[in-house]
């Protein structure tokens, strides 16, 4: 009995690490863009194109590494469109983000239809071509890298200033919008990687709307983690744990006669985020210039 319990806990923890992986990648992506002052509601769409391109790339090359490279590239491309609108054309970042998501959700099934003549999904990827566990380790390397970049490099300082005091950065002779461009593109690359882990690591093909709100959940984790790379990653773990519990407890009767309704576990991360933002549980403050386009005076 005890052995079974330990096994179940071990399974729960492994599955937590696995399902958190796409969230962490996306949250790190969101961090770069938001710390630089650009809201990133588009994470969801960026993840979706990443998932699609990674699946297609892996099917073509039989290498998940090349596949994730392609997923990353697709994320960067879509992020470039987003950047064009929000940085160059000063579009409202929330509206443009929504539009990018809509675009991704419309385009991906369409491309599947052209490539494979199936609406909305790619063929299954053979198990030998998929990642078994690598991304779950690698993502922590990215967390460390993001932390070091933000804390100890000039680039990190520029990103912070672009989001907190763009005028000061401009006065120091650094082009604010260039920093924001870089941050948004990095954000696309990371979110694309996050999407890639969905299609070639956690499942066996791309399917439409496979991101299922994970981009928004990553955004929630980012806020819960106070826009800090390590804290955001830990928040992702917490949300990932909720997801793992929910998968494991599906239909399990813990007390009484009814199985636990998964819906309550599903909404938990979102409730927590609202409470944190409202300052009921700790306090989370957004970068000062978040959402305001920068125009040189």
């Amino acid at each position: 009995m005890d052995g079974e319990k330990t096994k179940m806990i071990a399974q729960l923890l492994t599955s937590t690490l696995r399902v958190s992986t796409p969230l962490i990648f996306a949250a790190l992506g969101g961090m770069f863009s938001e710390r630089a002052g650009v809201i990133n509601i588009a994470l969801e769409g960026l993840m979706l194109v990443g998932a699609w391109a990674a699946a297609v790339g892996t099917l073509m090359t039989h290498s998940p590494w090349l596949g994730s490279g392609l997923g990353m590239l697709a994320g960067v491309l879509l992020a470039a469109i987003y950047g064009l609108f929000v940085i160059r054309l000063r579009a409202n970042q929330i509206v443009a983000g929504m539009a990018i998501n809509m675009f991704a959700f419309g385009l991906m099934p369409f491309l599947c239809k052209i490539l494979y003549d199936v609406t909305g999904s790619t063929p299954a990827i053979p198990i030998a071509d998929r990642f078994q566990s690598a991304p779950a380790y690698f993502v922590w390397l990215f967390v460390a890298l993001a932390f070091v970049t933000m804390k100890y490099t000039p680039a990190g300082l520029w990103v912070s200033f672009a989001g907190e005091h763009p005028e000061a950065l401009d006065a120091a002779g650094v082009r604010v919008n260039r920093v924001r461009w870089a941050a948004v593109l990095v954000s696309g690359a990371l979110a694309g990687l996050g999407g890639a882990t969905l299609s070639i690591f956690l499942s066996s093909s791309f399917s439409r709307s496979m991101t299922a709100g994970r981009g928004f959940m990553a955004l929630a984790a980012l806020i819960f983690g106070k826009w800090h790379p390590i804290r955001a990653a830990l928040a992702c773990l917490l949300f990932g744990f909720a997801e793992a519990v929910q998968i494991r407890l599906q239909g399990v009767v813990l007390w009484g006669s009814q199985p636990i309704p998964v819906q309550f576990i599903q909404i938990l991360p979102y409730v927590v985020t609202i409470l944190v933002l409202a300052g009921f549980v700790g306090r989370s403050r957004a970068p000062k210039a978040l959402g305001t386009p920068f125009l040189r005076g």
């Binding site: 809201i39 509601i41 609108f85 160059r88 054309l89 000063r90 579009a91 409202n92 929330i94 509206v95 443009a96 929504m98 539009a99 990018i100 809509m102 675009f103 959700f105 419309g106 385009l107 099934p109 369409f110 239809k113 052209i114 609406t119 909305g120 709100g213 928004f216 955004l219 929630a220 806020i223 009814q258 309704p261 819906q263 309550f264 599903q266 909404i267 979102y270 409730v271 985020t273 609202i274 933002l277 409202a278 300052g279 009921f280 957004a286």
Partner: protein, 344 residues
């Protein structure tokens, strides 16, 4: 005068640009764009039934467009119409399923009020959080959308489950709750909700343009400090504005449950709440513009549904691409000011 021309010209140009770009995508896919365009038009307006379906998609979009717009006027961004309309529809269905014998004279009114109440409540939460706790309504409304989806699916599956089907939907509501459907649309669910939507647009226009509350709301949206100097409580206005936005979104419940399905179906909305943002933006937050934009997006949605069968490579998802492109074209502030400069 030039301002008025710009107000009309900009959305029309945006729609034109979005359509052209979207149809260019179909050309890359190996279709004849003109052919695709014809299918879109015929699918949306080809027969009285098709037109009826277009109208029945447009009706919820009027409500969500107005919902987003009224918040916009107060300087708030209501991304939460999706959650508000979900709970509005659920409330209407719950009342109708739990009290099926309600006399038919008052039944639709009671269910409609339930929908309005639920939407108002779900809108008031982010309003209160913004006014009293200072947390931004965009994130809160996005989170509340997910919470509403989870709650409604719980209530549907565990409390009001329809025993006759495997689908995630509630029991059917009493017959007395159903509102009149117009017969001239060949069976398309065009109900009294359509005139209600137009009435709502008129009311929103009257409220914003002709009442003191509407003035206060716009004042806070224009300049909080000026409004405060005039003795207007920005906090109260914000709560009111998002509550009203929630009420308007909740009315989608009337169109969907009382005018169409007769029950709450989990996931019934093809993201009416998000498309409402596009509708409000394209309609420049003016009730008249919103009516026109809702009709356009309703037509796109209906027209695209014919693409699956009628073309080789293009699917109904084209409507999402078109909507996204139109939205991007509308929101590109820099593009429009650059064009305005060029004219001078």
């Amino acid at each position: 005068m030039t301002r008025i021309i710009r107000a009309f010209l900009q959305p029309i140009l945006a729609v034109f640009a979005g359509l052209c770009l979207g149809l260019a995508v179909t050309w890359i896919a190996g279709e004849n764009p003109w052919h695709v365009f014809k299918i879109l038009c015929l699918g949306a307006f080809g027969s009285s039934y098709d037109f009826g379906m277009t109208l029945s998609y447009a009706t919820p979009l009027v409500f969500t467009g107005l919902s987003v717009a009224i918040a916009f006027h107060a300087g708030l961004f209501n991304v939460g119409a999706e959650g508000q309309l979900t709970l509005g529809a659920l409330a209407a269905a719950a009342v109708g399923a739990l009290w099926p014998q309600c006399p038919s004279i008052v039944a639709p009114v009671i269910a409609g009020l339930a929908a309005i109440f639920a939407g108002t409540f779900w809108g008031a939460i982010p309003g209160w959080l913004r006014a009293r706790r200072g947390s931004h309504e965009v994130i809160n409304t996005i989170m509340l959308n997910f919470i509403a989806a989870g709650l409604s699916s719980y209530v549907t599956l565990y409390m009001l489950k329809n025993p006759e089907t495997q689908n995630p939907e509630t029991r059917t509501i009493g017959v007395g709750y159903m509102i009149h459907q117009f017969a001239i649309f060949g069976g398309a669910p065009v109900s009294l909700a359509l005139p209600l939507a137009i009435l709502a647009a008129v009311c929103v226009w009257f409220f914003l343009a002709k009442t003191v509350w509407g003035f206060e709301l716009r004042a806070v949206g224009q300049s909080e400090s000026a409004a405060r100097a005039a003795g207007i409580s920005a906090a109260n206005v914000r709560v009111t504005a998002l509550s009203l936005a929630g009420a308007l979104a909740g009315l989608v419940g009337v169109a969907e449950v009382l005018g169409n399905a007769g029950r709450f179906k989990v996931g019934f909305s093809p993201e009416y709440g998000f498309i409402g943002i596009a509708v409000a933006l394209l309609g420049r937050n003016h009730p008249l513009g919103i009516l026109a934009a809702a009709l356009l997006f309703g037509a796109l949605h209906k027209g695209a549904s014919a693409l699956d069968l009628e073309t080789e490579h293009v699917t109904r998802d084209l409507s999402l691409i078109l909507q996204a492109l139109i939205l991007l074209a509308v929101c590109a502030e820099g593009l429009w000011s650059w064009m305005a400069k060029k004219q001078k």
